[in-house]
Symmetry: C2
Subunit: 325 residues, 2 copies
């Protein structure tokens, strides 16, 4: 049996953390031959509920789950961790001022970045799920100077998967037959789900679906899917967000399929004209635990404009938190 | 790719159904090479929430999930289904009269048994999870005269897994090194978690743990674990119950490991002196999609007494619903 690896999850008593913890413990993220230790982090008032999550995890008698640590102390939570899923956050709510967003999330992701910097495994891979995910990841990354920026990412996979689903429903094609989709930019309403280079059953997606459906229905549907889920469920996406986090980590660790890529929020190196250092979603291929941006995709005027709109929003978010960077 | 199999889940918008649906769709029950069609059943008032569950399932872009059907019509829900997980029920609550228990669950499991009888695959495997699980399974089974009683089972695996966890915590042994545990009887406070034949790290469990701990701490802890979870979480076991359901089905379909067995609620054939036809949990070995009771285990006076206590409760439950059988 391999030695156990450590997986930290913050906000672990919340609905996304709860859904993720059980799938991960069953081997859904790292495979059924990889023992794990879960390091579950919550704020003080949620520790009682977190104890309940721990009890249920143990009650599953998962053969792979060697230990569960529950704590409100982030240094303990991130100690030696190989993977960190940062779920807990204060998302921006209606009427909230930018300065509040700054203050609330700075208090969470600045210290978490420093704790990861000082206590996690030197090879830690960090995925930020809690919203505003891109800018929270930017804060964490900038507070971890001893680690490589390439160890920090933010989640766009839920948007990517939602876009795959919309294309599958529209065309009747299987998910596995839809490749080379990209969701660019921010995990927000400005995101740009791009089918310019997408293949459906071996054909160009742009020749399979109507371009007005693409622009007027598909793009807004993907952008607004989160609100649609809330309206149907009376609760925000939980198990689908957890599933996307697992997909993101699996691809990052084990690679993307040949002839395909995925969408990940990563620190921009200036590709496609996007401001360097911004946590922005690009098309990436993964191999041997690393990602690489897919280069040289042709960007038409529509795509360029869309990628700029979402960049502008991320620049504004970055400016709002610049004291924390 | 194999042809898709159909999995019906009732009460699919509830917390157990929600936790089960995503793990099953990721391949957690039937493996990552088996496409599936989910047939999600809910009562009318929960159909809106169920729509949200369907949307989230589709948003996961699971390559194995070929289709999701949502319905409040049980004939549609069980049509051609290969597996049925019956989660939705009216459990007995404090102060509830037996006649209410009878009426409420009869209204659910009588018709469901008939719908399964008339519409499901002829090889359907049914697992009842909704409480009182054993007697609900008894009702369903007795309303499906065209199917073999051996196609109906009730879930004891959560109790079994909880018992494994208690032994692991006590002895420091790994879950995988604890075998031949049995939980007998009813999924209720009278259940009998039995370590008489259990092996821990190759030794007799009864020589590893103190017999007074076994009788005074272990047995009541396992029996009362459900209430302990509710008190910690403020909600009843959900993901651990879903996980146990998946374990139960996996073992039933793919077999139990060599030199081990599991606990399943099954129609008694009179083994160990338990009244024939009662839905009672026995130690079983599974192979090629069938189970077989483990015979010839020595039962000491303590074990015999405990198995009789839980049988007595099940006889009373059966008498209370006899009009439905």
């Amino acid at each position: 049996m391999k030695p156990a690896v450590r997986i930290a999850i913050t906000g672990a008593a919340g609905n996304i953390g709860y859904a993720a913890a059980f799938r991960i413990s069953a081997g859904g993220m790292l495979g059924t031959d990889q023992p794990i230790i879960l390091q579950l982090v919550e704020i003080e008032p949620a520790l009682q509920a977190l104890k309940g999550v721990e009890m249920e995890l143990l009650d599953c008698a998962f053969p792979l789950l060697e230990n569960v640590i529950t704590t409100s102390d982030i240094e303990t939570g991130f100690k030696d961790t190989d993977y960190a899923l940062l779920v807990g956050s204060k998302p921006r709510t209606k009427g909230m001022e930018r300065s509040d967003l700054l203050g609330d999330n700075g208090k969470i992701f600045g210290p978490q970045g420093r704790a990861i910097n000082n206590h996690a495994s030197r090879n830690v891979k960090v995925l930020v799920i809690g919203n505003p995910a891109n800018t929270n990841a930017l804060i964490a990354m900038n507070n971890a100077p001893d680690l490589s920026p390439s160890q920090f990412s933010s989640m766009m996979r839920l948007d990517h998967n939602r876009a795959l689903n919309q294309l599958s429903l529209k065309t009747g094609s299987k998910i596995a037959d839809i490749t080379r989709l990209t969701v660019w930019g921010n995990h927000s309403l400005t995101q740009y789900p791009d089918i310019s280079h997408c293949r459906i059953d071996g054909q160009d997606a742009t020749s399979v679906v109507d371009i007005s459906w693409y622009k007027e229905t598909f793009i807004p549907n993907v952008q607004n899917r989160g609100a649609e889920i809330i309206s149907a469920r009376g609760a925000s996406s939980a198990a689908s967000a957890a599933s996307a986090a697992i997909d993101h980590m699996r691809n990052w660790i084990f690679g993307t399929p040949e002839d395909d890529w995925t969408s990940m929020g990563i620190p921009s190196a200036g590709d496609y004209g996007i401001t360097e250092g911004l946590m922005y979603s690009f098309p990436v291929r993964c191999k041997n635990g690393s990602y690489e941006v897919v280069h040289d995709l042709h960007m038409d005027d529509f795509s360029t404009e869309k990628t700029k709109i979402t960049e502008k929003e991320l620049l504004e978010e970055r400016d709002a938190v610049k004291a924390l960077l």
